[in-house]
Symmetry: C2
Subunit: 327 residues, 2 copies
DNA sequence: CTGTTAGCGCTTTCAA
DNA sequence: TTGAAAGCGCTAACAG
C-alpha cells in the first residue's frame, strides 16, 4: 500500500532520468533552455513511469501567480449569473485556468472580503460583477469588472450596452403602438438595471411620452417582484405595456398578469432583458433583450491576456432584441 | 508609488517587530508555541502597520494542503446544480474555504481531468456529483460523492433518498385516484434519475398497476424533453398522470400540456422531483419532491471534517413532497 | 547542453 | 520564550 499522500516530485523524476531538476523543469516548461532530444526522452519516460504531476502550488509560489481565476457574482443561483458563471468557467478552462467562484450576496463587505481572499492566491485575475461603489487596489492582481462596474472604476470593464438595450426594448414597444409603457426596475438606480431604466426614459421622452408615475421599483427576486406587481396589474388603470429591466422581473410580471386573468400580449405586453434560458425557452417565450454571455467571457479573458500595468481597454458589448410571444 | 505587486512578507513583519519569523508565525497561527504578550503585541502592531496578509500558496506548499475545496457538477447553469453549488459555496465560505467550480458537461473524461487538476492544488477535499462509472484514486485527496455516485463507490457518499422519493411521489398520485401514471425519466437508468424511476416502478407494482409502456426516456434538458413529450400528450391515449424524475422535465411536461390545451391537474396531473426554485415559485407551482440542498452541503462538509484515512461514513438524506397546483 | 544552487514565503524543528 | 535554519517543490540564474 502506497504512502497515502506521497506524490513524486521533480527531484524524483530527475533521479530516475539520471539528470538534474533544472533539466526536468526545462522539459516540463519547454524552456527557457533547450534540452537534448535524448535527455528529453529519458525525462519524459521517467515522468510517465512515475505518473508525475507538477505541484501548481510550488510553481505559483515561485512565479508569484497561480493558474486560478476568480469570479465574483451577487448570486450564482440566480439564472442570469449562473449562466454567466458557466461561460466564464468554460472559457477559463479552455485557457488552462481553474475558476474560483464567490457569491457576494449583494453585500459590498463580502465582495471586498472575497476580492482579498482570491487575490491572496495570486490568481491570473479576478472578474467582478460589482455591486460596490468603489474599490481598493488588489496589490497587482488584475481586476476586471464584468457586466456591472462601480461608477468611476479605474479597472477595465467589459459591459453590455444597457442604455442602448433599454432604448431598443422601449422603442420596440412604442413601435407596436403602445404609449402607456411602464418600467419595472430594480430597488435603486445603480448598476445595469439603472442604465436600462435610463434607456427607457430616453426612448420615452424622444417619443414625447411621459414616464411620470410609470416607474416601479421592485425586488430583483421573483417572489418579491411578483408580490409588488400584483396590485399594479389588478387595478383598473393598469399598464398596457411593461418593460422589465431583468427577465426575472419580466417573468414575475408574466405571472402577476396571469393571476389577474390578463392575456399576454393582448391585454398587456411584456418585454424583458437578459435573455436567460427560462425567458427564451420557458413556458412562455418572452420578448427580451438578449445578452451574449459567451462573448462577455471571451472579451474579459482577452483583456486579461493583454494585461498591461498602466492601462487596459474597456469594452461595451451589444445585445439584440429577441421577439417572443409576449409583445 | 509602491512597487506594483510587492506585498509584505513574514520577514518584513519580523524585521519591523524586531523579532524572528518563527515568532510571527506563532502569533499568526496562535501556536504551536506560546509567545510573550509583549512580543505578541509588537507583532500584531507590525502586521497592522504593514497591512500584512499571509500568502496561502506558501502555507499550502508547506502544509501539503490548501484552503480550497473543489466542486464538480455536470452543468452549473442547470437550475438544480446551480442551487446546489450555491449551497456548497456558502457552506464552504462559512468554514473558511474557497470553492473551485468545474463543469463536467456529463463527460467522464472531463470529470477525471478536473478531479486531477483540482487534486493537484492539494484542496481540503473534492465534492463530486459523479456521472462516471468508476474512479481512480486522488493520491490522498479526499473525494466525497454528493447527490450522485458511481455504483460501487469506495469513497463516501452523501445522497438523497431517490428511490424513497420516487415511491412517495408515485404513491401521492395513486392516492389521488390515478392509475395511468407515466414516468418521465432520463436518457438511461443511471444515477439519481434511475433510482427515482425504480421508486415509481416499486410503488406501481405494489399497487398492482402496470408500468408497461408507461416509461419514457427523454433528455434532462428543457427543450429536448418538451419536444419528446409533445407527441405523447397530443395523442388520444395520453397519460392521465405524470411522474417526472426531475423538475426540469416536469416543467417541460407542463409546457407540452399547455400546448396540447390540457388543463393541469384536471386533464393531467404532474409531479416533479428536486424542488428547484422555478418549480416551487414559478408561473405554475409544481407538486414536487423537494430536496434539502443546504443539508446536503452541510453533511458533505461534516464528512470532510471527520475525514479518516481508513473509512468514512456515507449518508442518505430524506426529502419531502411539496404539494403545488399540478396534482 | 547540463548541473548546482539560491531562492519564492511559510512552518517547525532544534538549540539556545 | 525566542532565534536560526532546514525544508515544502519548483524555477531560473549562473557556471560549467
Amino acid at each position: 500500500m502506497a504512502d497515502r499522500a506521497r506524490r513524486p516530485t521533480l527531484a524524483d523524476v530527475a533521479r530516475l532520468a539520471g539528470t538534474s531538476t533544472a533539466v526536468v523543469s526545462y522539459v516540463l516548461n519547454d524552456g527557457p533552455r533547450a534540452v537534448a532530444p535524448q535527455t528529453k526522452a529519458k525525462v519524459e519516460q521517467a515522468i510517465a513511469e512515475l505518473g508525475y504531476r507538477r505541484n501548481p502550488l510550488a510553481s505559483a509560489l515561485m512565479a508569484g501567480r497561480s493558474n486560478l481565476v476568480g469570479l465574483l457574482v451577487p448570486d450564482s443561483s440566480n439564472a442570469f449569473f449562473s449562466e454567466l458563471a458557466r461561460e466564464f468557467e468554460r472559457e477559463g478552462k479552455a485557457r488552462g485556468f481553474l475558476t474560483l467562484i464567490g457569491n457576494t450576496a449583494y453585500d459590498p463587505a463580502v465582495e471586498l472580503d472575497y476580492e482579498r481572499a482570491f487575490a491572496d492566491l495570486r490568481p491570473r485575475g479576478i472578474f467582478v460583477t460589482s455591486i460596490t461603489g468603489d474599490a481598493e487596489s488588489l496589490d497587482g492582481c488584475p481586476r476586471i469588472y464584468v457586466h456591472s462596474a462601480p461608477a468611476g472604476a479605474s479597472d477595465p470593464c467589459v459591459l453590455f450596452d444597457d442604455v442602448g438595450g433599454g432604448i431598443a426594448a422601449t422603442r420596440h414597444l412604442i413601435g407596436q403602438g403602445y404609449e402607456d409603457i411602464h418600467c419595472i426596475a430594480g430597488p435603486d438606480d445603480f448598476g445595469p438595471s439603472g442604465k436600462r431604466e435610463r434607456g427607457w426614459q430616453k426612448a420615452m421622452s424622444e417619443a414625447g411620452l411621459t414616464t411620470e408615475g410609470r416607474l416601479h421599483r421592485v425586488s430583483f427576486e421573483r417572489l418579491g417582484a411578483e408580490n409588488a406587481l400584483r396590485p399594479l396589474l389588478a387595478k383598473p388603470g393598469r399598464p398596457r405595456a411593461i418593460f422589465a429591466t431583468t427577465d426575472e422581473q419580466a417573468l414575475a410580471a408574466l405571472r402577476a398578469a396571469a393571476e389577474a386573468r390578463l392575456t399576454v400580449p393582448k391585454d398587456i405586453a411584456i418585454v424583458g432583458f437578459d435573455g436567460i434560458r427560462e425567458a427564451l425557452n420557458g413556458s412562455s417565450r418572452l420578448t427580451t433583450f438578449a445578452l451574449p454571455l459567451a462573448e462577455l467571457a471571451r472579451r474579459a479573458f482577452e483583456v486579461l491576456d493583454g494585461w498591461n500595468a498602466a492601462d487596459n481597454p474597456s469594452h461595451i458589448i451589444a445585445g439584440a432584441l429577441q421577439r417572443g410571444e409576449t409583445s
